[in-house]
Symmetry: C2
Subunit: 305 residues, 2 copies
Amino acid sequence: MERPASDEQQAFQDALVRAGILHRSSAKGVYGRGPAFVAVFEGVDRFVSDAGRGDEPEVFRFPAVFPREALVRTDYLRSFPDLVGSIHGFDGDNRAHAALLRELDEGADWSASLSPADLVLLPAACYPLYPMLEGELPESGRLFDVLGTCFRREPSDDPARMQAFHMHEFVHVGTPDSALAFRDRWLERSQQMMADLGLLAEADVANDPFFGRAGAMLAANQRERALKFELLATVSDHEQPTAIVSCNCHLDHLTVPFGISSARGGVAHSACVGFGLERIVLGLFAAHGLDTARWPHETQKRLWQ
Amino acid sequence: MERPASDEQQAFQDALVRAGILHRSSAKGVYGRGPAFVAVFEGVDRFVSDAGRGDEPEVFRFPAVFPREALVRTDYLRSFPDLVGSIHGFDGDNRAHAALLRELDEGADWSASLSPADLVLLPAACYPLYPMLEGELPESGRLFDVLGTCFRREPSDDPARMQAFHMHEFVHVGTPDSALAFRDRWLERSQQMMADLGLLAEADVANDPFFGRAGAMLAANQRERALKFELLATVSDHEQPTAIVSCNCHLDHLTVPFGISSARGGVAHSACVGFGLERIVLGLFAAHGLDTARWPHETQKRLWQ
């Protein structure tokens, strides 16, 4: 579902494009990232890695695609059907290919020649961890550093709302207590990190964008239980701050579907802190200006030294 | 189309999984990458960046998704329909969502509720460059460093054939002569680079995997004109070497569809060298063993110093 951009969001997009920081494509919310964006992105990514390294996480990376059957085992299609990206492919022979090419030449809808693959686009960086963790966790749980290419289908000209973006997450899977403690520790730590970069970010209780009528209830429940906090900063609109970091308790939503238990067969919970890398990068351009050479010395030092 | 793995390829996959270097998912050719893989991957990626830095390329990064209309403007669907990943999404209301959930609960095919989005998966790292370059190039053309998350639908248990993988490319867009010279310079340079890592790689004329009956002719033509060279190394099977680098002249296949001309309106050609990062990483594990601490000192130095 397209998300209309405010005038200020549109103006920020225009300014980023004029400066060669982002390059529009013909699809909304899908950008090329120019040299200045890439330099800041790499700095932020390293800054995030460094912040968690002392805890000795297991470093995992996953591709942009995720098994369809694993997504079906989660609540995702129930909660966020509008955000999913389903992957379809061509399994035909020469004759079917000729038909596809005729459809193409006639400007017709050639997607009817395709059939669903066993893959969807990865919706969140930590999802591929859970199928790996089936069984009993060690006594102190496990801790991961994951960076993922995520997809959410919400085309927009607000540059802070990309369809394809990167989440750098630290994820703990352990007991209900250890998961909550992990979430709260990172809520504090991530606020300090954003301050170190010179970003004003305020923490607030939040909810995921649950779909439809039933979703409103899920959102209210999530807020009431204070399961999700976001750090909000001005990125593309002073009146609509953007979540640049989120700190989440998933309870057993991701452990039960994949048969994960804590040590000695107890209930396992998971929690994560997710750094929205593109949003932090854009927040830095919004806060410090479009010319990185003129950014505060302290910010440059944190990113590139 | 599934590509059956040889016994040796299957055995190499098993060994990588036992060592925690790769983690299988429920989809073939889609892996989690463990700490050792990630460390080597980051080293190879940096090694590739460094090799091209002296030429001062413009550094661009693109997301894993690509506008459907841009793919349609190229030969891709004509040449490689079987490799494409088309993205479909859910645009329905509450009622359609209820129907989707019923289909899910009944284990039925819920993909009928989806419709094609204006996006496909990115097939090659350099594709998003060309729509950006419409118009006339500067006198000496342009040079780019791009790294992309690519997708090709060829499920396999051969670990050297992943469905989702990374290409790190240098791309030159200029005149027919400058494109050919660029390709030949990198053919030499990339062989030296692989030798520096301790990888035995042989250059050979190659062709892209063109689809179907008509494809056989296109492949023969490409070989006859020596447009594509690959560096082949033993990765997962001694009898079936794997292309770890490719050096390509695209002629005007990607410039004409996007209205790119060289200076003063002349014909523009493009050329690229693509480093298959996952394949190089796996080639290093194959050549030097699964324990990176025991790799040759020279290789470790190139990757991590």
